[in-house]
């Protein structure tokens, strides 16, 4: 497989994953805007921007934070590198180059999404359409993910999934980091149920709202949520799940065993430690500190993969 092909595949799934994260964030913001908020209506939009890592870019463009602008910025804005529009555009740009290395269904999924988002962008959207737009985005991403199921289980497949889980690990960690105050102060200080609205934001933005209820009985506590999102191996968005998948797809690579091993050595300790970790210990240590270190580690794995395999 061409190095450039591996790189394109890696980025296609990163961009598609990012599109989904952005869509979920918009959805959360939209839901929040429909609830009465004691701190003023625009508060949540600011935290959505922060979670999307888009607050600096947004403020360069707009003076005030309001729903219409935030939605537009996150969905369609060409200047926002993480807007859904740009994610799909970039996924397609990469897909155009590697059409030959994945199935025609996968190409179709991405190209249809691209054709449709061009039309959506042309038609001035109205706020009431927003749930449809985010739903549409998630649907596109799911179509793409479904289509890659029929790929050959070769290195291309593993590079696609490496991209997906690197992106997801990073997205989940950043969301946790932006929202970690929801889970603080320490559980013993709060001692009981959390603010319903706050934790639902976090879970919804990680597409884990209902999954959480299934996974844990009883009261919703900060400890349980943190455990779910950081350590739970059954949760497909948890940090632990992501890192395990990165390791799996890395060691499944058939090419260059030496390079694979080199990267594996840098990540195996993180994977082992996160398996044995107890959530109470992490909270005592500081969730923010833990997550920051995790983000750093993931980013160094990312740059190792790029350096070793993509030249």
């Amino acid at each position: 497989m061409l190095s450039r092909t591996a790189e394109n595949l890696y980025w296609i799934s990163r961009y598609m994953e990012r599109a989904e994260t952005t869509a979920r964030l918009i959805d959360v913001g939209y839901r929040m805007s429909l609830f009465p908020n004691p701190n003023g209506h625009n508060n949540e939009w600011e935290s959505v921007l922060a979670a999307a890592g888009a607050i600096v870019g947004y403020k360069e463009k707009y003076d005030t934070i309001n729903q219409v602008n935030v939605e537009d910025y996150l969905f369609f804005d060409e200047d926002n590198p993480s807007s859904i529009y740009n994610c799909i555009l970039n996924a397609r740009k990469n897909a155009l180059i590697v059409r030959t290395s994945f199935t025609s269904e996968s190409w179709l999924a991405i190209n249809k999404a691209y054709q449709e988002i061009l039309k959506l962008k042309e038609n001035k959207f109205v706020t009431a359409d927003l749930p449809n737009l985010t739903e549409w985005t998630i649907e596109q991403v799911n179509l793409f993910r479904g289509s890659i199921g029929s790929l050959l289980r070769n290195d291309g497949y593993n590079f696609l999934f490496l991209g997906l889980f690197i992106e997801r690990a990073d997205n989940s960690a950043r969301l946790l980091d932006v929202k970690y105050f929801v889970l603080l102060p320490k559980p013993k200080y709060v001692g009981g149920s959390l603010d319903n609205v706050q934790w639902s934001i976090l879970l919804r933005s990680l597409s884990s709202f209902r999954a959480f209820r299934w996974a844990y009985d009883g009261n919703v506590t900060a400890t349980k949520i943190a455990d779910f999102l950081v350590l739970n191996r059954d949760c497909s968005r948890s940090l632990s799940f992501c890192i395990q998948n990165i390791v799996d797809h890395l060691i499944n690579l058939k090419c260059s065993p030496l390079k694979v091993d080199k990267i594996y050595q840098t990540i195996k300790d993180l994977n082992a430690s996160i398996q044995q970790e107890k959530i109470e210990a992490i909270i005592d240590y500081g969730l923010h500190e833990f997550v920051s270190q995790f983000i750093k580690k993931i980013s160094s794995v990312d740059s190792d993969i790029q350096k070793e395999f993509f030249y």
């Binding site: 061409l2 740009k93 190409w107």
Partner: protein, 468 residues
């Protein structure tokens, strides 16, 4: 005037009987619906014309639902003719880069060959594997009567359009399966396999693989034929590479893969000669591979088509193709050339200027239907302008009579109307010479127009060759 579907007594030709009743049963509403379906399909698979800017919607080539049909008898003549021509063109290339017999025999003047920019001096004395310079030749044909075909031009470099031929068939089979049950249409979908076999049969001397490694070299996604590049490499199951994926080391060509460097045997290049190797040709090229010509000349890799193949489809060389067929093959040409005046020659130039309003004038190096004058359809001002050009740059032009291209029934605003068509079949030359049982039919969508080029509003049709 020849019509592909109707005889002169306006009866339907046999091969169009099914199509005729199918057309009659199709309501305007169905036609619109099918047209829309085809358009959506073409957009979804991304078979678009130009990808210059991803924010501007890419252009589609208009697709006409009514197929163009050849009987087996009609086709076998074309098949023999095109293969004959392709053999002669390759023999010509081999000759002019080596002994130059055809020049010594005073059949082709030496200045017509050696002074051309498309003649590539770095190829002198070198013979590619099997002496095949141009393994894929697209011959543009027009029809003026039941049994009368003319070759309009040959394409020996990297003829494009084959992906349209294949996709047109795909969409027709998808939308109108019944038509294929009624008519015995020869399949064309083995073209990519045959192309790969052809390329593999042209491995260089130093190739050590029993199955040579073939790649397709593309200039990149901004090229207007990019869809075709990715389509063909996909169908052949070979890597589509850009120059940045390749490098030369120790007399071999490699591509960068996740496993490390991998040696390449055959490059099916879809970039022009000029950009192939900055060390040999245009030093400013950023889409070429430094040193590839050195590897090529020492038998480390084969480049298809060979650099310098373009001389064979030069419009001034075209005139001599019938002579080439006699000279190299000892055969009579099966397909005719269009009578052509070469403005280089004084007597020809005089004739052209005297009869300009009845002629088509073409630039020797022009393509895409640009830079030409259609005498009978031009104003006096345009004609005077062209006369001036001819006098000042007589070497740059040829002239031909305006031929009455055949009409094919075409759906215009859901009504059947006659539109002019041409045909480009694709000939493969490797271990054996073969013609695909089909081709690309291009149609001039504008009423009365003679220009079928997609850059000027031309469309395409599925092309059927019926089994015996």
């Amino acid at each position: 005037m020849f019509n592909e579907m109707y005889q002169s007594n306006s009866e339907i030709r046999n091969q169009y009987n099914h199509i005729n009743s199918w057309l009659k049963n199709m309501s305007s509403q169905i036609i619109s619906q099918k047209n829309e379906e085809a358009e959506t399909h073409f957009r979804n698979i991304g078979i678009t014309f130009s990808t210059n800017s991803e924010t501007i919607r890419e252009r589609l080539i208009p697709f006409d639902l009514i197929p163009r049909i050849f009987t087996n008898t009609e086709w076998s003549k074309l098949e023999k003719g095109v293969i004959q021509r392709s053999k002669a063109l390759n023999a010509f290339l081999s000759d002019i880069y080596n002994q130059g017999e055809i020049i010594k025999a005073n059949i082709v003047p030496k200045e017509t060959v050696y002074k051309k920019i498309s003649f590539e001096p770095s190829m002198i004395g070198f013979s590619p594997p099997r002496e095949i310079y141009s393994p894929i030749i697209g011959v543009d044909l027009i029809r003026t009567d039941t049994d009368k075909y003319y070759v309009l031009e040959d394409n020996c470099r990297t003829p494009s359009g084959v992906s349209y031929m294949l996709e047109n068939r795909e969409i027709m089979m998808r939308m109108f399966p019944d038509l294929f049950l009624q008519n015995r249409v020869l399949p064309i979908d083995d073209y990519p396999t045959r192309l790969l076999q052809t390329l593999m049969s042209l491995a260089p001397i130093k190739c050590e693989n029993s199955e040579p490694v073939v790649v397709l070299l593309t200039p990149g996604p901004l090229n207007s034929a990019y869809y075709e590049h990715s389509f063909l490499s996909d169908q052949m199951g070979i890597e589509m590479v850009e120059s940045s994926d390749l490098f030369v080391e120790g007399k071999y060509l490699y591509m960068k893969t996740v496993d490390g460097p991998k040696r390449i045997d055959v490059v099916y290049r879809r970039i022009d000669d000029e950009y192939l190797d900055p060390l040999c040709f245009n030093s400013q090229s950023i889409i070429g591979v430094a040193g590839i010509m050195d590897v090529y000349r020492t038998g480390g890799v084969n480049i298809c088509s060979a650099p310098g193949s373009g001389i064979a489809d030069d419009k001034a060389i075209y005139i001599y193709v019938p002579e080439m067929i006699k000279f190299y093959l000892g055969e009579q040409p099966i397909l005719d050339n269009v009578e052509t005046w070469n403005c280089e020659k004084k007597d020809h130039l005089k004739y052209v200027i005297d009869n300009i309003s009845n002629l088509v004038i073409k630039e020797v190096d022009g393509s895409g239907g640009y830079g030409m004058l259609i005498g009978p359809k031009s104003s006096t001002v345009e004609i005077e302008e062209f006369k001036n050009k001819l006098i000042h740059n007589s070497n740059g032009y040829i002239a031909q009579p305006l031929l009455d291209l055949s009409f094919s029934p075409t759906l215009i605003k859901n009504q059947v109307e006659g539109r002019r068509v041409d045909l480009r079949p694709f000939c493969l030359m490797g271990k054996e010479a073969q013609l695909n049982s089909g081709g690309l039919t291009r149609v001039a969508m504008n009423e009365g127009s003679f220009v079928v080029n997609s850059s000027q509003g031309g469309g395409v049709k599925d092309t059927w060759i019926l089994a015996e």
